[in-house]
């Protein structure tokens, strides 16, 4: 019986082998099915292994390979945390592979995707398994590299090239931040093993610095505002199943990194750390969802909503930090579990939604919602699962999104016990931000679903759409089922997460399994409890009751007629509410502040025949205030220095001479 970690490593090896296979068979036409089939099988195996070691609570298993840093070797470790994130990774991977089986057949240049897809999966698995700084960063950057190659798959679109560039630079920025953090953690001696780091003592200032660097490094990968700019560019640029992986899974790997360092390696946190993370998380959540609302490109919208969810997760982690710093183990465990639960949920429904978007993309060739509409008639199955995803991500019962939000709110409600006034005041405020984000998310996904799938088709392409292949549908339906199950049976998930909390926090939430009727009780029953199963049962019962009585005793007659157009029927679908007009009220409320949105109405005088025009200009302040000046500065300096390229030999000599004299002077003064 080989140890669990070894199994996982074997799976990774198999994935890398698949990469080689893909390169070898890039000519053959069967390679697509071959590669995705292989990755599907492998990820299922890995998933099974990870699930087993998470549920069965097999202790941490370790493995050292004679690669990586020579005197250290490459350490791998599979503990509860790693196991949980392996579950997330491989579940997403399996779903994406299954989806790819169908989706990949539409691919024009498969040889630009197939080799990198398994490599990307391998990278994510390895990051979670790595147990020393070098291996960790190596795999981390390898993951970025592979995903970059996937983003560049359709390299002919200039946008994608730009997206890939921004992505890779931001990724490298993040890596360097992590590198500094690990350098600080492992000290001048170079004790790069996580075990060594764990045992080492860290001064408060060091800890603070490391936390900041982790927020920069992991945050830039996860998409914390204002480091999120690459995300809405890169995620949509990749093929949809890769977008699903990047949004649903890779961001989680970043969160894994944050948890691993801040909760595991860094030792006991300080409550101020909690404050910082809370603020960042709350801000990210609200800003992310506002961007998403304003977006009319389906995949970009989903990417922005990822930013929102990341914000939610970080908020919850911040709560956990705050509680743990004050020694409230139970509350900390609650917040931490909530965060992990949301990680899981988001990986479910975000992958599902991206798959849906991909399905729409393949059958209509459109990502722009303003050109879609009415797809519910032509793609009924897709629209159904997409609806499930929308309900789930909008945190509505009885689906899974609500449960994690609910847990986070419960954690927020523990805040009065906190001794620090800052936290006492701030936690409810952040809770308000979360509530706002949740409500906005609901609005956002009403828009996403309503504009894309409801109403009448806004373009011939949408008119001609058809249902997608069965592989894609299988992938989407399985994820939708998972969303539903996790929603009605949250107790099982919480219990499965408890070893992770136990390992990271030192406490765990009370055992849920033996609560009556499978309901969940975060602290104690008198405080709060929720039972997804019963709520679902009630709703179905009530609804079917109503249906039964009405159809039994009242009329069931139906007549089709034209829609009421205020007296005159409007022939053109263009007269429907568009995405932009749908969010106009919300834009008026928040836009002026967040986007400096200005509306210009140009109404011709009576008798004037030219059409009236309405124009909104919005600004992405993060780009304009932060990134544009930076790039401009760099180019300015580059231009200035570039003049050194065109001097005469005499001037070059003078440079040498000047250097010589300076050094001699320094010497004369110094020694």
């Amino acid at each position: 019986m080989i140890p669990a970690v070894a199994q996982q490593i074997w799976c990774v090896a198999a994935l890398l082998g698949t990469t080689a296979l893909a390169i070898a068979s890039s000519r053959s036409r069967r390679s697509t099915a071959l590669v995705y089939g292989a990755t599907f099988a492998i990820s299922l195996v890995a998933l099974a292994g990870a699930l087993f070691s998470l549920i069965a609570r097999t202790g941490a298993t370790e493995l050292t390979l004679p690669i990586g840093l020579p005197w250290l070797g490459s350490h791998f470790r599979l503990d509860a945390l790693a196991a949980f994130f392996l579950v997330v990774v491989n579940l997403g991977a399996a779903a994406a592979s299954l989806y790819g089986l169908g989706y990949g057949s539409h691919e024009s240049t498969p040889q630009r995707i197939l080799p990198f897809f398994p490599a990307f999966l391998a990278g994510m698995n390895l990051v979670v398994l790595a147990d020393d700084a070098f291996t960790y960063l190596l795999c981390w950057e390898f993951m970025s590299l592979a995903s970059w190659a996937l983003v560049m798959a359709h390299h002919r679109e200039p946008d994608n090239a730009r997206a890939g560039y921004v992505y890779l630079v931001m990724a490298s920025f993040g890596t360097l931040a992590l590198l500094l953090a690990f350098g600080l953690l492992s000290g001048a001696g170079g004790g790069y093993g996580f075990a060594a780091i764990r045992s080492a003592q860290h001064t408060p200032s060091e800890a603070a610095l490391v936390l900041a660097l982790m927020l920069l490094g992991a945050g830039s990968k996860a998409g914390l505002v204002p480091l999120h700019v690459w995300l809405p560019l890169a995620h949509p640029a990749a093929p949809s199943h890769v977008s699903a992986l990047m949004s649903g899974v890779m961001t989680k790997v970043a969160i894994y990194g944050f948890i691993r360092v801040v909760f595991d390696l860094l030792g006991p946190p300080s409550w101020s750390a909690g404050v910082v993370v809370l603020i960042l998380g709350g801000a990210t959540a609200v800003i992310g969802i506002l961007y998403a609302l304003m977006e009319n490109d389906l995949k970009r919208l989903l990417a922005y909503s990822t930013i929102e969810n990341i914000g939610v997760i970080f908020t919850s982690l911040g709560l956990a930090l705050a509680f743990q710093a004050n020694g409230f183990g139970l509350a900390a465990a609650l917040a931490f579990t909530a965060a992990l639960f949301h990680v899981l949920n988001h990986s479910f429904f975000k992958s599902l939604l991206f798959f849906g978007a991909g399905a729409v993309l393949t059958s209509t060739g459109e990502r722009d919602m303003e050109k879609l509409g009415g797809l519910i008639h032509r793609m009924p199955l897709t629209s159904f699962v997409f609806l499930v995803g929308c309900v789930a991500i909008s945190a509505l019962p009885p689906f899974n999104g609500f449960v994690s939000e609910w847990l986070i709110f419960q954690a927020v409600l523990q805040s009065p016990d906190l001794p620090q006034w800052v936290l006492k005041i701030m936690v409810p405020a952040v809770g308000a931000l979360l509530a706002l984000a949740a409500a906005l998310a609901a609005a956002c996904f009403v828009k996403a679903f309503g504009i894309t799938f409801l109403g009448r088709a806004r373009s011939p392409a949408a008119e001609a759409a058809g249902e997608v292949d069965r592989y894609s549908l299988a992938a989407m339906f399985s994820l939708a089922a998972l969303c539903f199950l996790a929603g009605i049976l949250p107790g099982l998930v919480i219990d499965a997460l408890s070893p992770v909390a136990q390992a990271m926090i030192g406490h765990r939430m009370p055992v849920q399994a033996n609560d009556p009727w499978l309901s969940i009780v975060p602290i104690e029953e008198s405080r709060s409890s929720y039972n997804g199963l019963l709520v679902f049962a009630f709703i179905t019962a009530a609804a079917s009751l109503a249906v039964y009585f009405i159809h039994r005793f009242a009329s069931r007659a139906i007549r089709r007629g034209p829609a009421w157009g205020c007296g005159f029927a409007d022939p053109t679908p263009a007269a429907q509410y568009s995405g932009a007009s749908f969010v106009q009220p919300i834009r008026r409320v928040f836009g002026t502040l967040v986007f400096q949105a200005r509306e210009h109405v140009d109404m011709p005088a009576p008798g004037d025949l030219r059409p009236a025009r309405f124009k909104v200009d919005m600004h992405d302040l993060v780009w304009e205030r932060l990134y544009t000046p930076l790039t401009e500065a760099v180019w300015f300096l580059a231009d200035r220095l570039n003049q050194l390229q065109f001097l005469t030999i005499r001037r070059y000599l003078s440079l040498v001479f000047a250097t010589l004299v300076t050094l001699l002077l320094v010497l004369a003064i110094w020694s």
Binding site: W71, G164, Y165, L176, L179, F182, A658, L667
Partner: protein
């Protein structure tokens, strides 16, 4: 003579004899073949240095852990480059950029240069080392100018003038070292023999050593290409034949660096002398940042990578300046990796420039589509040189940055900043070179991929797995460097 000194002798004899024959022989195929064979022979001789026991350091020659790294690397890259240059030069002949006469000259000079560099490495005598470096420089000057275009001549001329000044400064430094050794060791040869110097350096006159080191640092630093002494480097790389660019970046810079290191050790031994670290760290950072900014405005593909060489030399010098086992190890590793990667890149670039018929970055696009092999090799190379895993340079940069930050955080900040800047520039160019709508000639290239792939394969392996003996030996050298 023992077998050992035989081996050493072979390392020097093969090139010089080959040079003589090549100068005499006509005909492209033959000369190219001989060139390859000679380089191979040299490589084998160098490799044999591992197995045989070391000779006693003599008046002139020395084999120790430090230089054996350099010699093997030198001869290896020399060999692969000779293979590459065979196919490259063939193409140059077809296009008529080179005439057979110059070709003969080229091959002869190539071997002379190899001789000079090897001599510089094995010499145990600081005077001899100086002479050897001068030989290597002058030969490369002649080869840079070989195309005889305005640009080439100008580059060669600039290289020549600046190089000569550098040589002069280095010589003055050498004389000063001798003067410092004079009272302690006494007149004559011994006062120039490295091994003797190092054994007695503790008692030398610190003031003289200080001045000496500054002159040596500038003199040899000119060849290393440290900003602001770098002026010759970009043009020389851009205008010379690509094999020469590969050798310049991959080897000549190392030769000069090696010299600097020797004297750094010497200085480190003397307690009263200034510590060379800060000087080297400063110059390293300057070069890194300067080159990083310069990368953004490059329009010529070869000049682009020339500047990236400056950048990496800056990193290496910085690492050695930091000192300490970790940083020194990283420095050595980085040097080896950079040599392999950069020369590999130049092989790719050479073929690309030939098939596209231009060196302007703007006229080359979508390589991965038109020439997959070349394009993806370029991608791998740039990714490697930019310090991304799983390739070798990542490991060294990891060690340098992390150890620096742990020891002197304030130094790590500009270092990281420079790395990020350079990264941004390189990837920016790579994106436009390798991706996007293809532009320019799409005819298949008749290239010799073998050297390129060999280099990248090595770099890739090293990025993931370093063989144990190699590591032990690197660590030993790292401790040697103090």
């Amino acid at each position: 003579m023992t077998a050992a000194s035989d081996a050493v002798a072979w390392v020097l004899l093969i090139p010089i004899c080959a040079a003589a024959t090549l100068a005499a022989l006509p005909g492209y195929r033959l000369t190219a073949g001989i060139n390859i064979l000679a380089s191979l022979g040299t490589l084998l001789a160098a490799l044999s240095l591992f197995v045989i026991e070391r000779p006693q350091p003599g008046q002139y020659l020395l084999i120790d852990d430090l230089n054996i790294v350099f010699i093997v690397l030198n001869t290896f890259v020399g060999f692969t480059t000779s293979v590459f240059s065979a196919s490259y030069i063939a193409h140059e002949l077809e296009t008529g950029r080179l005439t057979p006469g110059y070709l003969r000259f080229y091959h002869a000079m190539y071997q002379v240069m190899m001789f000079g560099m090897n001599l510089a490495f094995v010499s145990n005598n600081i005077g001899l080392m100086w002479v050897a470096v001068e030989i290597a420089t002058l030969t490369t000057v002649l080869m840079v100018g070989i195309y005889r275009t305005h640009a080439a001549l100008e580059a060669a001329w600039k290289y020549f003038i600046l190089g000569s000044v550098g040589i002069a400064l280095a010589l003055f430094g050498t004389i000063l070292v001798y003067m410092a050794a004079l009272p302690v060791i006494g007149e004559g040869q011994d006062a120039m023999v490295w091994t003797v110097l190092i054994s007695r350096a503790a008692t030398f006159d610190p003031a003289l050593l200080n001045v000496a080191f500054i002159f040596l640092l500038l003199g040899y630093g000119t060849k290393v290409g440290l900003a602001p002494l770098h002026a010759w480097l970009p043009d020389a790389h851009a205008e010379g034949p690509t094999p020469i660019s590969a050798v310049l970046s991959g080897l000549l810079l190392n030769v000069a660096l090696y010299a600097v290191l020797r004297f750094k050790i010497l200085l480190a031994v003397n307690p009263d002398a200034i510590s060379p670290g800060p000087l080297m760290v400063t110059m390293g950072l300057t070069s890194l940042l300067f080159a990083a900014f310069m990368l953004y405005r490059r329009r010529d593909i070869k000049r682009l990578f020339a500047y990236s060489s400056i950048e990496h030399m800056g990193i290496i010098v910085f690492a050695f300046g930091m000192g300490g086992p970790l940083a020194n190890f990283a420095g050595l590793l980085h040097m080896v990796m950079h040599s392999l990667t950069k020369s590999g890149i130049f092989y790719a670039v050479g073929h690309i420039a030939q098939v596209k018929g231009t060196q302007r970055i703007a006229n080359i696009r979508g390589l991965t589509e038109t020439h997959p092999a070349l394009g993806w090799s370029l991608v791998i190379g740039v990714v490697a040189i930019a310090g991304l895993p799983p390739l070798g340079i990542f490991m060294s940069e990891f060690l340098i940055v992390s150890s620096t930050f742990a020891r002197q955080p304030l130094l790590a900040i500009p270092l990281v900043f420079g790395l990020l800047l350079a990264f941004g520039a390189l990837i920016l160019r790579l994106t436009s070179l390798a991706f996007g709508e293809p532009r320019g000639n799409a005819a298949p290239a008749d290239a010799s991929y073998l050297p390129m792939f060999a280099h990248f394969a090595l770099v890739l392996t090293a990025g993931i797995y370093l063989p144990g003996p190699l590591v032990v030996w690197f660590q030993h050298v790292a401790n040697l460097l103090g």
